[in-house]
Symmetry: none
């Protein structure tokens, strides 16, 4: 399962740090934007709307704390400060200026990654007004609200039907193997009970397809698994 792509902006004038980050953040998971100055960083936040900002304090043009303050005048994007300064008052100043986290160089890659995941969680909560909905044709699937609509009309799904659909939505467009689906919905002990899938896929098709016998959304990949088509 591939993660969605998150845009991360690093504002740091040291090439070494930017290069380090470029190698630390898996490009399949993160799209890394780079800014050398505070000015450029602010512009990129406005134009590219990154999901997280990694901010160095020792910039050439504007002080990092001031950059954080200016970001906070109009943006709620999570800011993680990366700095060599380990004095308390630097940390306090940055955090009070609006930064959400503060990592002292040198830091470990896995810790940075974990803290980025925390920041992404916060970001999606704050902007979470927009539901993580899947839409294809007249079908709307909102996993968070646990709500499915077809042509604007709510469709009732049983717990297993919903879990199965959720597993497909999380991998929308890709084939999900029988084993994977069975494990996610019924647990690893049922990984061979492929018959369950036929019954439940049938029920989902009846509820969600225009012509259940000729499925266009929930398609079979014979011998492999099923797929939720994205269009």
């Amino acid at each position: 399962m591939t993660e969605p792509l998150h845009r991360v902006l690093v504002i740091d004038d040291e090439l070494a740090i930017r290069r380090f980050l470029r190698h630390s953040l898996n490009p399949e998971q993160f799209e890394l934007l780079e800014a050398e100055t505070g000015e450029e960083g602010l512009r990129l936040i406005a134009t590219k709307e990154p999901a997280v900002v990694l901010l160095d304090l020792g910039l050439a043009d504007i002080d990092g704390v001031e950059v954080a303050r200016q970001i906070r005048e109009w943006s709620q994007v999570p800011i993680i400060v990366l700095s060599a300064r380990e004095q308390d008052h630097d940390k306090v100043a940055a955090l009070d200026a609006g930064a959400d986290d503060y990592l002292t160089k040198p830091f470990s890659v896995v810790e940075l990654q974990a803290r980025i995941r925390v920041a992404l969680r916060h970001g999606s909560l704050a902007t979470g007004a927009l539901p993580p909905a899947f839409i294809a044709g007249d079908l709307e699937i909102d996993l968070l609200a646990r709500l499915v609509r077809k042509g604007g009309v709510e469709v009732h799904l049983t717990p297993n039907e919903f879990k199965l659909l959720a597993a497909l939505v999380k991998n929308a467009g890709r084939v999900v193997t029988h084993k994977q689906l069975l494990t996610e919905v019924w647990g690893p002990d049922f990984a061979e009970e492929a018959h369950y899938l036929r019954v439940y896929m049938g029920q989902l098709r009846h509820k969600l397809e225009d012509e259940p016998a000729q499925p266009r959304l929930l398609t079979t990949e014979s011998g492999v698994g099923y797929r939720l088509r994205t269009e």
Copy 2:
């Protein structure tokens, strides 16, 4: 100007740490609650609703990471881990389990205070976005005023009925699981007493629905939980 009073819960079995925090956090600004075990901590989160939780990893009963995971099953309260463990994998495990920040002991008081301020900012964003009043049809629910009106007429609710309704309002439109509801209303020790929900949902329906037998607002998601419909 007096600062608002923020309730902070510390979960730590070491008396020394609790005493240290008691002296570090200005009592005019913070009301400090203390729990010695994970069990007690979970109960206090449910009953006292602290604004921030300070969590030690090395507890006597449950592992701190597991405590964080259990909190996240039903609560969004910000969690700052305070731990002597400085291994990367401890940090990553705690942050991925749902913690929002991780401080390694010994930490400085001013840094802790600054990180608590960050956590409070996050907390007020997450909960502050919630509407103080919910309106659907002829039903008006004002959580702050603790007032419920149906067709302009005030409806009297018992304490438990109101807490249950409040938990649903806070997640209006979304399904709220049995566990989540039970934990919020009765506390984590009652997370399996699904029968309570049937009785109290029945009472709420009698007071709030036009046709209690055919609920339109307070609907059942069989096997999952209940939902307060928004339209």
